[in-house]
Amino acid sequence: MKERIRFLFYVFSLVTTCVVIAVAVFTNLLEPSETVESAVLWQIPLVSFFCSLGGLIYPWDRCCRKREMAVRVGVHYVYINMVVLGAGFWFRWYRTDHLGSLAVMVVTIALVYVVVSVISWRRSAEDARAINERLKEYQQQGDRGPGDLPAEDAAGPEKGRRQRRETK
């Protein structure tokens, strides 16, 4: 449970950061004269929280086939769109009478989704690299059995008497 909460918090902070950047970029590009209301300061974390909950759709402790995974990714993406577009409608982030405004929202969602996925993937790739390095060391340590004692120790016992071998 602790790991799951940690993972959700990681996704939440990543999504919040990306959304803040996206809002800053799109507001400045599309409507530079507009001012952003202070309410957006709690609206963004709220929506990010619900978006990060979508991560629970993926199996935590079991494997699943590629097909099942693809379906879950699709459902997750639809869920995120519903949350953001629903919240955007409620908080009036876009104009319902203007198709371009809705399109900007959809593109923003897609961009944030891709950026979050790429960052998560790169983080996993970094973890995999560290795991592989330690795995090699671990396996090299495991290969050193009693047969790898120092030369004088591996010489074997003298016949007919108890021999004491020591290594440090």
Binding site: G55, R62, C63, M69, D127, G142, R164
Partner: protein, 145 residues
């Protein structure tokens, strides 16, 4: 740590004596590894019973309430439950990789990231298995990361 090996005379029983100030986790793991390394697993295939060394197993998998031991090429069924194997092999090279699999770390060639925080383990016999998100921290811990 000093390691002393004494050669035995004929007829004497083999024995391991551990002299330490306290039983820390590392020491317990060593004892488990010594015990598990000597104990053979009883497995079956086509109604015949076999004894195999745990080190020869690449991974265990639970499928439809049955547990199978996968060696390099052969597959055997074991009567042990997955959690029993997990307990019995704790402190050895084996680690829980998902709800249904236990992997032998010494038989893992490498890992690569899979989608959503999971990893794919490439086994030395060419098979690929998933390490689910829940067990990735355990894998890291086992490797001292």
């Amino acid at each position: 740590m000093k390691i002393t090996i004494q050669d035995l005379a004929d007829g004497e029983e083999e024995e391991i004596i551990i002299r330490c100030r306290g039983m820390d986790e590392q020491m317990l793991k060593l004892i488990y590894a010594l015990k598990a390394g000597r104990e053979k697993l009883t497995v079956s295939k086509e109604e015949k019973l076999f004894q195999i060394l745990p080190q020869a197993v690449y991974y265990f998998e639970a499928v439809d309430n049955k547990v199978f031991a996968y060696l390099e090429r052969e597959v055997y069924e074991t009567k042990n439950k997955l959690y029993e194997l997990e307990n019995r092999l704790s402190g050895t090279d084996f680690f829980r990789a998902s709800k249904s699999t236990i992997l032998n770390l010494s038989k893992v060639e490498s890992v690569s990231p899979a989608f959503n925080g999971r990893f794919e383990a490439y086994m030395k016999n060419g098979e690929r298995l998933i390490v689910s998100r829940q067990y990735v921290p355990l894998l890291k811990e086992k490797l001292g990361l």
